[in-house]
Symmetry: C2
Subunit: 501 residues, 2 copies
């Protein structure tokens, strides 16, 4: 499906829609409806089970979304978190310089100064993408943070966090103090980040308010031991800088062992790249051949990132590979800057007595983008209808409970529905229409299992009652005891966890 068609479908189903719709919408803001909110929550839970699940020493915290000015000054966001912006003086539309130069400079404008961009605009006689006018402004650096007055004086400024990571860095000292005082120490945050994008577009891919899931792993640069043998033979679809320079866009399969041995990447980095790849392939179940691990070059990545691979997935709706997550080796940049900014030395003394300023390995994940990708990849057409083949533990409504005939079987089915809820199995009761239509409705919202109560259920004795269980993907039905339902359903509804390191 094309992007517009998919969005229209999701909107019609109440998965998501433009925020403040009745006021004509608010650019770059979206609301999640009941199905979307449930799906998003389950994606977040699956991420938490997987990434913080990598170690007993990785924790999830919930820091505030508002940052005092001193924090974003130290982090560099106040100065550098900018995007070159160009306004058309004819039609008054604003654009990212990258968009204006899309055709003449497809490799983007990263690393160019406003002056250099202005020269290209002039030399190539670039025109407004909207009205075609040549009256384009000189580019200016536009800071993407939302700033606001904090407190009553009008003198204090604060900012909505442009990334969740800052909360982890700010909390490192406290987490060290209350914890085991050992490295590595992981601090994860799942929450909103905010960017005043110049030109929000591509729906959930450039939003002004969006949800990130990020794990910051603080480690001793001298040693970050990982059980590398457990991943050594995993073959990763990498697209490295050298291969890109040769004009290739498709990845090649390289084993983790080779990436570390001859590929020049540290084992700890490759280990986490493997686990990130596995999350996309095994948990979100994107087909392996639609995933590539895209290495960023020196010019493309932020100056403090020493190594960066984006995890990209090919999306039909957006016509190409899109970044859905990444693994950044950020060195000591973050704790060094906050040590300087706060005046508090964030280096720690290890049990061996050595003092070290921890380095950071950052695993990032765009929650909204992945909600979109889960629709793009798993929503398949079946004639007039659609089936949303979501992994069962991500389904907004994991179970449907139906009486075959409302009149006769409703009481039993309602009791069963409540009973499943009280055992933590979320479900939807539905008695409306023919059973085939009810299956179809649940297929559309991605429900993997439907339970039907029928005449036989009521005839059987206590503890021997049976129901049918219908599988979304195979459409097979089996008869099983009500008392066995929970044990049967539960394993499919818990998101996978990695073997712990």
């Amino acid at each position: 499906m094309k992007s517009d068609e998919l969005f229209a479908l999701l909107r019609r189903r109440g998965v998501l829609w433009p925020s403040a719709e009745i006021y004509g919408g608010a650019q770059g803001l979206y609301d999640y409806g009941p199905l979307g909110a449930a799906l998003k929550r389950r994606v977040e839970e699956a991420w938490v089970a997987w990434f913080p699940g990598l170690s007993h020493d990785y924790y999830v915290i919930e820091p505030a979304e508002i940052l005092p000015e001193a924090v974003v000054r130290a982090s560099g966001h106040l100065e550098n978190f900018t995007d070159p912006e160009i306004t058309c003086e004819q039609c008054h539309a604003s654009f990212r310089a990258e968009t204006v130069l899309e055709k003449v400079r497809p490799e983007g404008v990263d690393g160019l100064s406003p002056t250099q961009i202005a020269e290209i605009v002039s030399a190539r006689q670039v025109r407004c993408p909207n009205c075609g006018s040549a009256a384009l402004s000189v580019p200016r650096s536009f800071n993407l943070m939302f700033g606001m007055d904090f407190g009553v004086t009008g003198k204090e400024r604060a900012y909505l966090r442009p990334e969740t990571a800052q909360g982890s860095y700010l909390s490192f000292a406290r987490m060290w103090d209350v914890g085991r005082r050992a490295l590595p120490l992981g601090i994860a945050v799942v929450g909103k980040a905010y960017r005043n994008e110049i030109a929000p577009r591509q729906l959930l891919f450039r939003m002004r308010a969006f949800t990130q899931a990020e794990l910051q792993i603080f480690f001793d640069p001298a040693t970050f031991p990982v059980p590398f043998d457990s991943v050594r033979d995993e073959r990763l679809p990498v697209l490295r800088v050298a291969r890109r320079s040769a004009g290739e866009e498709s990845p090649e399969l390289v084993s983790a062992g080779d990436l570390a041995a001859s590929g020049g990447l540290p084992e700890f980095y490759v280990f986490h790249l493997v686990h990130s790849f596995r999350f996309f392939r095994d948990v979100l179940r994107y087909p392996a051949d639609r995933i590539r691990l895209f290495e960023k070059s020196d010019a493309e990545r932020a100056f403090y990132n020493r190594i960066q691979f984006d995890i990209e997935v090919r999306l039909e709706s957006l016509g190409g590979f899109k970044e859905l997550g990444a693994v950044h080796y950020r060195g000591d940049y973050d704790l060094r800057r906050h040590s300087e900014g706060s005046g508090r030395d964030l280096s720690v003394t290890l049990s061996a007595g050595t003092k070290v300023l921890p380095h950071v390995l950052e695993l990032t994940f765009g929650v909204d983008r992945n909600v979109w990708a889960l629709a793009d990849v798993h929503l398949v057409k079946d004639g007039e209808r659609t089936i949303w083949r979501l992994p069962p533990y991500l389904a907004p409504v994991p179970v449907g409970v139906f009486p075959l005939m409302a009149k006769e079987h409703a009481a039993y089915a309602l009791r069963l529905s409540d009973d499943l809820e009280s055992q933590g199995i979320s479900n939807r009761y539905d008695e409306a229409g023919a059973i085939g239509r009810r299956y179809a409705r649940m297929d559309e919202v991605g429900t993997p299992f439907c339970i039907t109560v029928d005449g036989r259920t009521l005839e059987e004795g206590p503890d021997r009652d049976t129901v049918t269980l219908r599988d979304r993907d195979t459409r097979s039905q089996e008869r099983l005891r009500v008392t066995d339902l929970v044990a049967r359903l539960r394993p499919a509804l818990v998101a996978p966890r990695p073997r712990r390191a």
Copy 2:
């Protein structure tokens, strides 16, 4: 425990701490550590199971936190969401007028104009609460919303939502369209709200960023049927306006039936008041004799609220009753204002053909305040130690898994820990120190169940292995089969749900 002592304890344990602590903190902002974030999440989940669980037609959505200016103009927040503020011209401290007048006017300043407040300050020769100076400024209306530039032009303004409710109102039309097109329809939001408080104080009770859980029930004012008989005999601890006027501060027990029959309250209102009361008593397990349902007078409640009872709980740490939730009957205010503001008629046509502008019943809940209250009420001292007697389904770490002796039993216990996780039972593995100390550590963080693997476990045959299960509150230990663990633990770890209406 006093407030400071309790906060110091929670901070030491990594439950929560001031945000941006290494920068000296940011007034009114707090970060939740691992235990706090987990507790908060479970409180939110319990709220969702209970309130949206009241009906099949109540849904949870996740709308954006940023509101365009047109929305807050229509809702009245741009004009009216203000607090009178007074600055001391000597020491430059800012205060809410209510705080400055605390001693001379304990009933507060609701409904007074800045001029009236200025007259009281002058007549009573009120002085600065901070430095004692008489140089107090004339009060000004200070808008509590955080406003910011939206987009690149500098002309468009947006605001952080001051309450989650607006997202539900804005989504009503879309939810009507995608749903059953019937009333009542409930739309719930759990998420952040933001207020630029003049003087944040009392820790989690007046924050600048905080989490609300709110359910907006849209209903036909002509009929809002509820199964009132199911609550008729519930006796509620109410403190009504008439009783308050007589100087009483303690509630009296009145049955739901009497409140509706002779008390002049609509049955739909009392029904939801009962369910709110039950949530605080039965789910959060605040002792019934510390709860009161505090009716707000005409002068105290917002002008659009027709009926308002705050649910208050007596907290030792804060020396009195504190509002932790409320039930507001808001009439048609919200949809009428947004119909006018957006130009879209938000009235709906019911199946009978009648056209109606729905009324709103709002159930509110302060998540952070309740996290605090759960510490205040359930954290009890036991000699040098503390035991956090949280309801099991709210415990940040519901289960502890220990090997009796690390050397011999660790492998089995680790496998059991992973196995429980894969069945959705969150737990912490601990092998450090004597078993009694491990129990004590788990008692402190509120873990209700500890499982110990010992010599006997390993001796028993497949499927017959047993472990000990220790209960936090009774300290009793029982021996049970590993295969029976999940079935035994699960019911205690799922938050209660109400009988559905």
